[in-house]
Amino acid sequence: MSQHTDRTEDVMSNKNDGGKRSARERMQAERAKQEAAARKRRQLTVILAALVVIAAAVVIGIVVQNGRSSSYNAAADAPAGTVGNTRLLIPVGGTTAPSTVTIYEDPRCPACEQFETGMKSTINQLLAQGKIQIQYHIASFIDRHDGGKGSKNAANALACAQNVGLFHNYHDVLYANQPDETNDAWADKTILISLAKQVPGLDSPAFESCVNNNTYGSWVTAVQSDFDKSGYNSTPTVLLNGTSAYSTYNGEDISPANFTKWVDTANKGKPLASIPSASAQALASPTAHNNLPASAGAGHS
């Protein structure tokens, strides 16, 4: 009996215990579930916060950088005498010349200096004969590659010279005095100004303030941006009537003789431009500004 009773009590107490335990377990399970849910919420909040930080940074970044990229207005910001849709090109020579030579050059580019040193007498002769006109794109990407400001400063100074009609002479003086590519000498604007003294009539208070104030900075940026989008990716890029002529044209290497031949072939049967005889003589003279001896920097590539 007592056994029975005991057993009954046992069963009963067991039942009771089981009931309590399952209630406790339920509570624990419920609490765990709530904690898991809370943890999940915290995790989601953290992820959301991280995504918000990222999205905000990207949006702010795009807006800020958009605002910083200079706005270029062709009518107000281009130097006088520039041509093209947005006035990014500097023309040299008679505009009625039958062949157009397009030249992309960076002031700090050593290969451009070699091209100029090797070809400028020929090119100046062809200009003087009215056979070609040149359209210069003054790029300034070497500042990015090698660091520095020399290309941009020089490009701006060239624009200042263009504004007073002395681009070509100054261009030739700069290439004749080009520093080594990795030497950012033209970060110092006084050097650009002192080189301008080699071009009669160029150095003036207006020119100096143009160089010092980076007056054509937004034009310089716009020209480089145009070069970036052109698909051409090195300087010098030289086109003869739109066809690449550097360093080969129709399978022939560029040389003074070949270049003259290519131009003559392209010009066959077309009238030449007439240019004032004084400027023609100046261009053709071997002692002209543009026929200075090669600089010490030549040969570096």
């Binding site: 992820i47 930080v53 940074a57 950088q65 480089q224 970036d228």
Partner: protein
């Protein structure tokens, strides 16, 4: 111990992203050109990516540095690195010669000056760091740890 390794990995990856991002913000035009020369995106998307990617990198650097949302930051880092590796491989396969512009610079270079192998290997190294943090996002000295304590 694992949590401390995680802290080192997290800060290491943060430094990489900060360096990469900062190097690209001073010249927006150069950053856009670095994107353009991959010849993957249409011109209309070149500037948004060129301008925006450095700030994405800086945001990841910030999140990793303070340890906020470490796992999601590591996941995004990993995806970004896979995109970079894929882009470099694509350029390489198409025979285009560029600098990856990973840490500033970028643009066309002479064919002899490309460094695709090194660039991809380097990014794979960074990918390993991201992988570690995806696997073990709990690290010491993190906002995550403090917020969920």
């Amino acid at each position: 111990m694992v949590a401390w390794i995680g802290t080192a990995v997290r800060i290491g990856l943060a430094v990489v992203w900060a360096w990469a991002g900062l190097a690209k913000i001073s010249d927006p035009q150069a950053a856009a050109q670095a994107v353009r020369v991959y010849r993957i995106l249409p011109e209309s998307l070149v500037k948004p990516f060129g301008y925006g990617l450095p700030f994405l990198e800086l945001a990841l650097a910030l999140l990793l540095l303070v340890g906020l949302g470490t796992r999601i930051a590591a996941v995004i880092s990993g995806v970004l690195l896979l995109v970079y590796i894929g882009s470099i491989a694509s350029v390489w396969a198409r025979g285009i010669s560029i600098d990856c512009g990973c840490f500033g610079g970028g643009g066309a270079v002479a064919a002899s000056k490309t460094q695709y192998w090194q660039e991809i290997l380097r990014d794979c190294g960074f990918l390993l760091l991201s992988g570690w943090l995806i696997w073990r996002p709990k690290t010491r000295l993190s906002l995550d740890g403090w917020l969920t304590a």
